[in-house]
Amino acid sequence: MEQKKHWQSFGELNQSDAYNKDVKDEFREDLPFVADESKSTSFLEAKAPRRDFLKYLGFSTAAAAAAASCEMPIKKAIPFANKPEDVVPGVSKYYATTYVQDGDVVSVLAKVRDGRPIKIEGNDLSPITKGGTSARVQASVLDLYDTARLRFPTIDGKEVTFEAIDKAVAGAISGPVVVLTSTVTSPSTKATIDQFVAKYPGSRHVTYDAISYSGMLLANEATYGKKAIPSYHFENAKAIVSIGADFLGTWLSPVEFARQYATGKKLDEKNPEMSKHIHFEAVASLTGSNADEKYLHRPSETGAVVAALLSAVNGQAVTLSDAKLKAGVEKAAKALNEHKGAALVVCGSNDVNVQIIVNAINEAIGAGGKTIDWSVTLQTRQGVDADFTQLVGDMNAGSVGTLLVYGANPAYTWYDAAQFKTGLKKVRTTVSFNTKMDETTELCKYVVPDHHYLESWGDAEPVTGHYSFIQPTIYPLFKTRQWQDSLLKWSGATTDYLAFLKTFWSAKVGGETGWDKALQDGVINPAAGVAAGAAFNGGAVAGAVAAAGTAKKGGEVELVLYEKIAIGAGQGAANPWLQELPDPVTRATWDNYVIISPALARTLLHIDLNNGGQADAYEVNPPKKVVKVTVNGKSVELPALIIPGTHPNTIGIAVGYGRSEKMGKSVVGTGKNVFPLASLDGATVNFTNVNVTITATGDKYPVALTQTHSRYDTTQGNRTEVMKELTLAEYKAHPTEIREEREAELKPWGGLEKFESQGTIYPVYDRPGIKWGMSVDLNTCNGCGACVVACTAENNVSVVGKPEVLRGHEMQWLRIDRYFSGDMDNPNVVFQPMMCQHCDNAPCENVCPVAATNHSSEGLNQMTYNRCIGTRYCANNCPYKVRRFNWADYNGSDSFPDNQVGIVNDVVLDMSDDLTRMVLNPDVTVRARGVIEKCSFCVQRLQASKLVAKNDSRPMVDSDIKVACQQACPTNAITFGNANDANSAIAKARVENPNRQFYVLEQLHVLPNVTYMAKVRNLEEEHPAAGAKAEGAGKKEAAAHQ
């Protein structure tokens, strides 16, 4: 019965006046026109002069008359000259292909509509991702239509033909030649590189990863004799300990790991068992937010923590100065030892010694062959920093004749970019194959832009033996060429890459038919092998432990450079969908910033978050205080965000921002580059720094945070009717707790059973046929945001740009609410996807004066844009705040161009460019200014799936319909279907989970069609101490409410 207090914002935690006023108003600004601005009277007091009225009236009449008297233009209907047999205009086709970016590999299907790829979906046939995707995979289709893509080959920036550049390069290539790439997993590409390198003696191929995993590669070489990364099996692990590895967000292969992790978190009500995840980290991350228990440590303590864990696992004493941390390590060791053979330790450090100790722990807990599989290895990161350092040295020494760059961008991502740039100047011939004018390409003489992956042929091997194929889904938009073609041509081969690829695979897959099948499926999977360990050589462990003991002591403040889910190492920076995706943890868009802890905020910024006024001032005003971070003489000024769950002596900054303006409109003015703050630590790049200085500059800089947008009031306080969370122990002891709590809440209106009919004066309607329903499992949802971008892509949701996000005008139909509970310094975090709940008794519907929003017989809350007049009553009356208003003409859909220019920024204008618009889904209306929009349950997909079933003359089944968010989800947290059909997954999910199921704000009797399943955290305590304390405070407030 007792519930923890969940809070979204500091204002809510403090229950400040500003907060309480704020949640009452959906729209915080007055209407744009006020009669006398100098007096700033409100709109209601403003006088509308008769003359103005007549002016508007006259203009509208004249405009309408003028528009009406125009002659109707003749529209053309142009059929094919020769229609391809399998193409039906207006019917989408799905082609299996593979998302490949700098080593990341995800098997996908591209939805191609009338010749244009418009949406990326996961490929269910891949055993690695099983149909899961990430935000970046979903957004990659927009990169195809990026206006900043390079459109032709150039020499010294001047456009040339392919023949000319081939000739010029052939003459200019001189040895030794170095092919510099990011990780290449493609076997056929490796063969082309080998062929090319063989042609020029003394040449070599260097792999460089922006975010390096050389620490792991070298540690594995030292202990297992293999310079490789094994494949991990989180699904087999009952105890997972992560030391700074953000494996759900950015670490190695997050889509794969998220899926595996979720299998351990899925709760069977009849047999409630879950995996246990203990996380150690310095700066709040997505994975840390999902952990069952989280402990904070300084980056300088990473070695010590890992060493302590090793000795604890081996039953020896733990020596750590921080008592909390020590208890955490002991607990982690206990959990690992309890689940020997079903336990796993991962670590995000790039330090060889730390990774050697981690390997030793994994050996001690029997992970090899169970949760770590050495029989197949993960190939997505292969770069070793020493190789690249060597290359930079060679370049500076003048011993590199030709440098060919593909994928890699060291002029931006290398910690010492200046040295790379000077080296580059000494290379006689420089060629770049990158698709955009990035920082490295800018410095290259010859540029032969590569295709986007959706225009390419190819293959990939993310895990040894698992092949994934790339086939083009659109004819190349520009004069670009696959880089493998260039390599083949320059190595004197007469075949092109497609022929090369076919020959490469033909024999392996069984001729033409096999090849066709491989392309159709998109993947070739090996027979399920038996996981195996590898011979462990513990010789290096003692040395590593000793090295960890003598690690540099940390200073007052330490720094962690981290990757954001959406932006990565900068690959996502030029993609507006990704820039506008709120970071799951910080909920910020369009910028990077310095993450600091509430404790540091008190001393550094003089903001005490427990002080209502100070917290509000910090939270309500977008301008945040700017701090200056100095590392080894290099400094950067960025705004500071206070994020609970960060170590008091550590700050975090995201890499990937501050890119060259030639990358596109969305990088202009967004964030700063912090790669220079990294350092080379022995043989590996270190993305932490143990001693930095941080000072407040006194300036302020606005950050577009969405955390305080779309807040909604909860009448009972504490958000118990919004978010329900339990511990596993609590659940086991009292499984029906949530059900009973709902029963008690609804008692006055007939209880759970009769609530629908007795809680209202409205009649209860019949629902024959279809009733759409959705269920979201908060246990498996990790907040990664893939669904948000998928929704944006599917439903033509507008990008509004930073200035508009600052004003709370973001348009995303689906948002992921972040809730904290417990200790302010190290809170528990829960993510809750929130979209239109499609209430059967919807409060928005009965306030619309023009019935633009109403209910369908299938349970959809329908929004009709062409009927909407923009009163926004519906948004104001929506208890969940999921309705979005088109404040400006974000899509350029009005007839008057002046409605965009000067009102929306360049990014938004760029999104309505003719090229970018090719990404729009033709089945979904592009909304005009002045109308409300919201989640439609992907009604276009529902209608299409119904039609497929009708034309086949059969009832609809689950496999017919997947809504965009559900399709994108790597963890299958979202279930959707016809709830009237007892065999559907949604009906089953509701029947099988009666105890965890709840509706948000159920007592309002809005009868939502979205059910949530309560979060269960794997903790032994029934009521965490910190939670209980906050709960007492909550009760007081609740009492005060009444």
């Binding site: 142009i78 020769n82 039906v88 205009p89 024959p768 009604v939 209608q943 086949d952 009832p955």
Partner: protein
């Protein structure tokens, strides 16, 4: 008192006048011919085999009239019952099943059969063509009512005037000061009344006109090639789907590509049929139009055709729906089994195509309200268990059936999303 009575009088006159012109016409009943055109003509001709058999003499071939009705309403059921004649027919026409026409009543079918009987064989002389046209005007009484209303209005006016005169006389006799008579154009009640009427009528016309903006019923643009549907679909009975291949599969029915035209026109290089005339009455040279096609196709007669040389024909688009409307042909033609002619009119009789329906929302909705869902032969609708029960128990009139509206066919997000 006086003024009140005068007001009553004037309003009475006004009301009568108003009623006079508000009488409208009523809709005509469907006759056999239209039924034939909308439901049968896609696959049947009266005197010629096409997708289905020629229908002349159908009543003689089916000895049992009830069975013929059953066959038309639901051919699949008759086939299932094992009727020999039906099954032979099915085999003969390469197992092309006739769609169910459950929406046709017995009366409709009788009208249809009567029409089929009445169509003369192409060779035979048309007996009494002129005589048949005689009773056309019957049943339209609008004019009669109009005249009647006018006479009554005049009588009422005269009576009112007489009444007013008598009143004045009696007033004079009784010594009341005579009231200065007000001419009707300065009578405030008249003015007010006329203003209100004008406002209502004007408003009605304005809004109706505004609603019709952008609608283009009867739109008939000049096309790059004079393509006659009459020649192709009417005279030569080519199935619609032969060219409009997408109609069962997707959103668009699709306009055929040049290679589809060339399938036949590789051999058919001159036009020998009846003379063709365009809208202006000028004669069109069919053979010259075929040559135009050859030009687009890059085809030279006597030489093998290289399809890659074809260029698309830029037709002027006739049927335009606004962008915020989602319309899907397969939903209507395949799932809904609606005949092409229902929306496109008697396309097989049009030389140049024109827009038959106004394609307004009211027009769409109206059809959704009246059309029955093809419940019987579509497994998809098995989910509407409740309606099936209601139909069985008689709660829902089975003659009326389940309309598209009943299963949500008039909801916004069925077409707007």
């Amino acid at each position: 008192m006086i003024s009140f009575r005068r007001f009553a009088k004037t309003s009475l006159t006004g009301t009568i006048l108003f009623l006079g012109f508000s009488l409208g016409t009523t809709a005509n009943a469907q006759d056999g011919k239209t039924l034939f055109q909308t439901n049968c003509a896609a696959c049947h001709a009266v005197h010629k085999k096409s997708t289905g058999p020629a229908l002349a003499g159908v009543e003689d071939r089916w000895t049992d009239k009830a069975k013929l009705h059953a066959w038309i309403k639901n051919s699949a059921a008759v086939l299932k019952s094992g009727d020999k004649y039906a099954n032979d027919l099915y085999q003969e026409y390469s197992k092309t099943a006739m769609p169910a026409f459950s929406s046709l009543s017995d009366g409709d079918i009788d009208a249809l059969l009567a029409y089929i009987k009445s169509v003369p064989a192409p060779g035979a002389a048309v007996p009494g063509a002129a005589a048949a046209a005689a009773p056309a005007a019957e049943g339209d009484n609008t004019l009669l009512f109009g005249i009647l209303t006018l006479i009554l209005a005049v009588v009422a006016l005269i009576l009112l005037q007489v009444n007013a005169n008598l009143k004045r006389l009696s007033d004079e006799r009784e010594g009341f000061a005579p009231v200065e008579p007000v001419p009707f154009w300065r009578n405030k009640a008249y003015i007010a009344f006329v203003t209100v009427i004008l406002f209502i009528v004007g408003g009605y016309l304005t809004s109706k006109g505004a609603m019709a903006l952008g609608r283009s019923k009867d739109y008939q643009p000049v096309q790059p090639i004079y393509y006659s549907h009459k020649v192709h679909a009417g005279v030569n009975q080519i199935n619609c789907q032969y060219c409009h291949t997408g109609v069962y599969q997707g959103k668009q029915a699709t306009i055929p590509s040049v290679n589809v035209c060339m399938n036949c026109h590789m051999n058919i290089n001159e036009y020998k049929g009846e003379k063709l005339y365009n809208e202006d009455g000028k004669e069109v040279d069919g053979t010259a139009e075929i040559k135009k096609l050859y030009k687009y196709a890059g085809f030279e007669e006597g030489k093998p055709w290289d399809a890659t040389k074809a260029k698309p024909i830029e037709w002027a688009r006739i049927h335009n729906l606004p962008d915020h409307v989602y319309f899907n042909h397969s939903q209507h033609v395949k799932a809904g089994q609606v005949a092409c002619q229902t929306c496109h009119g008697e396309i097989q009789k049009m030389d140049e195509v024109k827009q038959f329906s106004d394609l307004s929302m009211g027009w769409c909705i109206n059809c959704h309200r009246e059309t029955k869902v093809q419940f019987k032969d579509n497994g998809f609708y098995s989910i509407y268990e409740k309606y099936h029960q209601d139909l069985k128990s008689g709660k829902i009139d089975s003659a009326k059936g389940i309309t598209v509206e009943k299963i949500g066919g008039t909801e916004c997000q069925k077409c707007h999303y």
